[in-house]
Each structure stands twice: as C-alpha cells, then as structure tokens.
C-alpha cells in the first residue's frame, strides 16, 4: 500500500439549473421598465390565467411599472376551472393591480357551433386567439403594452398557440425554464397555491401540460438545458442517462415547432429585403 496522499476534485453538482433570483429580478424588472417606457408607454396589459407563468410576469410587471400601471384580464371559458379564477384573484389582491374579467364563452361558442367536428386542439387554439384579441383591444384601451407569459420550456417545445398566447409586445420570462420560473416565483412571493399546482393550459377540464406532453417539466427542463444551453448532442444526452426515445421526441418536437419562434419568411426579390438585409433592432432610435 502506498502512503501517497490522494486528493480529488470537490464534488460538483451536475448541471444545476438554479438561478440567482435577486439578479434575475433586477434584470427582468429593468427590462420591462426599459422596453415599455422607451416607446412612450408606461403601462402593461397581461392575461392572467391563474397559472404560474402569468402570475410571475404580473409580479415582475407590477414591480417594474407600479401596480397602478398594470391591468390584468381574466378570460375564462365556461369549462375553465373555478380554481383558476380564484388563483388569479390571489394575485390581483396581493399586488393591488387593476383587473377585469371578460368571459370568452359567448365569443367562441358560435364558431365552435359552425364546425361540429372540431377537435379539442382546434377549440383550444381558438380560445387562445380569442384571448389575444381581447388583450390587444385592452392594450389600445388602456394604453399599455401586452407583456408575454411564455417560458423557455414551452417556447422550445412549441407548447403554445401561434398568434394566441404567444402573441405579446415583450416577454420577460422567455429565457427561464419552467423550474427556474418556479424558483423565481417563490422568491417573488407568488402564492404557493399557484406555484405548487400541476401546470395546465386549462383549455378543457382536467387538462395538464405534463399529460399533454407525455413527460414532466423537470425531465424536459433538464434535457433542453443540456441540448440548448450546454450544446450537448442527442447522443451525449443519451450517454448522460436520458431515454433514447425521449431524447429523439424532444429533439424532433423542438425542430418541428421552430416556425412558432420566428417571423414568417419573406420571399426575397429585391436587393434589400425585410428580415435579411434590412436589419434594425426594435429599439431603433430610442
């Protein structure tokens, strides 16, 4: 036996996705304030579902702009759960923000009735787009910009309705995975009833995101983090312990849904084409 002392590196926690919530809060409230006020606005409009993503966006907007400058709209359908409404009320009461409730049943049911064969996905998309119409109308009425509520996990997976819930003027939480949304929500004081419940689009009774997706957010977050942030190849993800079928389905889902993440391509004809060689930030001149 050798008596040479052996030292090893300290144990490194593998791919810890937790964030410094104070720093995130500072950057994200600064972002909301800057991107709304520099265009001459001072107010924000948000759809408040009763879920964690829109609750977190509300807390950030209220801190950035002052609660009096935030209007939230609850937009239930007749099948929406009563709990969603009451959870949204917790946020409204806690922050002291302005609120209104606009039920969408009378708006979407006539369209559903025209197409009796309509499946749940089509109905869900119509509801999401109807809510977008109401939010953008309130944007004009309230002189506020629509603040988005989509997180990085759902944007990557394409778990959203194009021109529906994904429509917004700015998105403060789109670079946070679902687990990071939970961590930041806890730090900002989002009520635990909202943070701890199973995520749901609440488009029909009993719907949950994780049942729709076929895996948990924790699984998806960890895999997406390796693929996107750490630039692992799919083979390296499998080597890191993920099921090959799961990796393949997520990789394919991310690719297939890329159209939801970019502006529609314009066919190039001229020497200078919007999107290709006509390039300006939105903040141009401000």
């Amino acid at each position: 036996m050798s008596d040479i002392p052996i030292y090893r590196e300290d144990h490194r926690p593998e791919h810890d996705m937790s964030i410094n919530t104070e720093l995130a809060r500072k950057i994200l409230t600064g972002f909301i304030h800057s991107e709304i006020t520099r265009t001459g606005f001072k107010k924000a409009v948000l759809g408040l579902s009763g879920g964690i993503d829109s609750a977190l966006s509300c807390y950030l907007a209220a801190e950035a702009l002052g609660p009096e400058n935030v209007l939230v709209v609850r937009m239930p359908y007749k099948a929406s759960s009563a709990e969603s409404l009451s959870h949204a009320q917790l946020v409204i009461d806690d922050l002291g923000i302005q609120s209104m409730t606009v039920e969408i049943t009378d708006m979407v049911d006539p369209l559903f009735a025209k197409f009796p064969e309509m499946n749940k996905m089509r109905k869900g998309n119509i509801m999401a787009r109807q809510r977008m119409i109401i939010l953008y109308d309130q944007s004009a009425a309230f002189s506020g910009l629509v603040v988005g509520t989509g997180n990085k996990t759902e944007i990557l997976l394409g778990y959203s309705t194009l021109f529906g819930d994904s429509a917004c003027a700015l998105n403060p939480i789109g670079d946070l995975y679902k687990c990071q949304v939970r961590q930041l929500s806890r730090a900002l004081g989002v009520p635990s009833e909202i943070v701890d419940k199973p995520p749901s689009a609440d488009l029909w009774a009993g719907q949950t995101d994780e049942a729709d997706l076929g895996y948990t957010y924790d699984q998806a977050d960890r895999l997406l983090y390796l693929l996107i942030d750490e630039r692992y190849t799919p083979a390296e993800c499998i080597e890191a312990g993920f099921e090959p079928d799961f990796v393949q389905s997520v990789v394919e889902r991310v690719r297939r849904n890329h159209f939801k993440r970019i502006l529609p391509p314009i066919a190039k004809l001229s020497n200078r084409t919007i999107g290709y060689d006509y390039l300006y930030l939105r903040d141009w001149g401000t």
Binding site: D16, S18, I19, N20, E22, L23, A24, K26, I27, G30, F31, S34, E35, D175, D277, Y278, L279, Y280, L281, R282, D283, W284, G285, T286
Partner: protein, 289 residues
Amino acid sequence: MKCNIALAQINTKLGRVEDNLEKHMDYIKAAQAQNADLIVFPELSLTGYVLQDLTPTVSHHPTADDPIFRPLLEASQKMDIMVGYVDEDIRNRFYIAAAYLSRGEVLHVHHKVYLPTYGLFDESRFFAWGDGVQAFDTPFGRMGMLICEDFWHASPPYLLWLDGADILLLQSASPGRGLGQAPELESAHWVDHINRAYASLFTDFVIHTNRVGFEDGLNFWGGASAYDPNGQRLVLGPKHEEALVMVEIDLNQLHRTRARMPMLRDERTALVQREMNRILNGKNCGTGR
C-alpha cells in the same frame, strides 16, 4: 503624480448621436465638479451598440469641424476625454472606435481589432477591423485603449504593455449573459477576472468602463472598475445602473510595485519574437500542432 479618473457607465439611445452627446456633456460637467482629470466613456457611447443598418448613418470624424466632436474637443481643454463612436475612414470603411481627447487635440484613435461575430454578436458583418494596437503619451503618462473583445484576447494588452502603456483604458458594451446562482452574470465575472489578471501580470493600471441599459432583450451590466499594478481593485461601480464612478490612481504605485515585481524588466521580448517567428513560419502555422 495622481490622476483622478471618472468612469461614466451610461445608458445610450440607439442611433441618436445628438441625444447621446448631450448626456456626454452632462457627465463631463459632473466629472469636472468632481475635479476629474480624465473621463472614460463606454464602447460606442455616442451611438449605442447593436447598430446593424444604422452603422453608416451614425459615423463621425474626431475633428474640430465635426458638430459632434467640436463640443467634446472644447470640453477636453479642461479634462481629458475618452469616447466611443463609429469612425468612417476616407475609403468609407466603418470602425468601432475610441478617441482620446486632450487639451483640444485628438491624441489617439483606436479601431477595434477583434470584432466578435459569433453567438449573439454580428460585428464584422457591419464593421471593418482595426489593424493596429499602439500606446500613446498623455499628460498622465503613456496609455493604451482597447475595446471589449480586444481584451478578450491576450495579445492586445500584451502589445500595449510592451509599447509602454502603464494605464490600460478599456471600454465595453458588454451584453450580460450567463445567469447562474452567483450574484453576478458570468460575463461580468469573466471581465472582472481578466482585468484583475492584466493588472497583476503587467503591473499596470487597468481602467474599465461598461455601459448599462437595454437594447431589445440585451442587458448591459455596468460595473465599471479600476485595478492597480498590484492587482488590487480600487473601485467597482454599481451593476445595471447609470453612475459616474470616481477613482484616483497614484502613478507612483508603478514604481513601488515594479521594484518588488520586475515582470516588465524580465520580459524576454527577443525570445517572444524568435518563437513567434518559428511558430508562424512553421509548416503547421496557425494550428499549433
């Protein structure tokens, strides 16, 4: 000799040079009230950072007949000024540039050599790269200027050191990225890390100013800092907020530190040149293998 330096970590308006000039003049006045000898502004402080197709519309010349530089040159009668702007040369190439103004004269212009064009960056799509790294004399000793990615490479600070710069003036428009558990972003940590290293390795003063604010989704983190030739941090500005950060440097510290740490005296420049020639003239030039 002492030099009282003001680090202006400002926000800018994208493409609005006159508005940005107005802010420069406000900060210059505030620095004068603090008896500053030199004020250092961030990268592209007169224009904003993600210029894209705005680039050709915001270029200026650091001459007395330029409407933007005239007031800056006048203000430099009382206090030295380092500003960031877009320079256009006589053949109409655009550069990310830094100018050092003193007593009504332009003492030096540096064109950014390393234009990051990867990840979120797209600089060499719009800008020409500078082709020189030179130190220059000022009333407060010999200095060198570098812009952001220039000092993410080790060679430009090294060249300035050999060219006689005792004070490295670094300016950035550094987009914040890499949020983990630490109280600062990875990009902020990284810059702080290397600036401390340059001060220590070169026994130089390292002065860094970075802008703040947002451009679309990008945040700029501020955190202006100064290191002395011992590698000790003299000041650290607030993160993500505008501020005029004041720091007095004692140039006699160069004497004291270099008496103890003679890295400059012992640097084998002929060896470096010989080995560089061997490496660059070798048959596997550039690959290192």
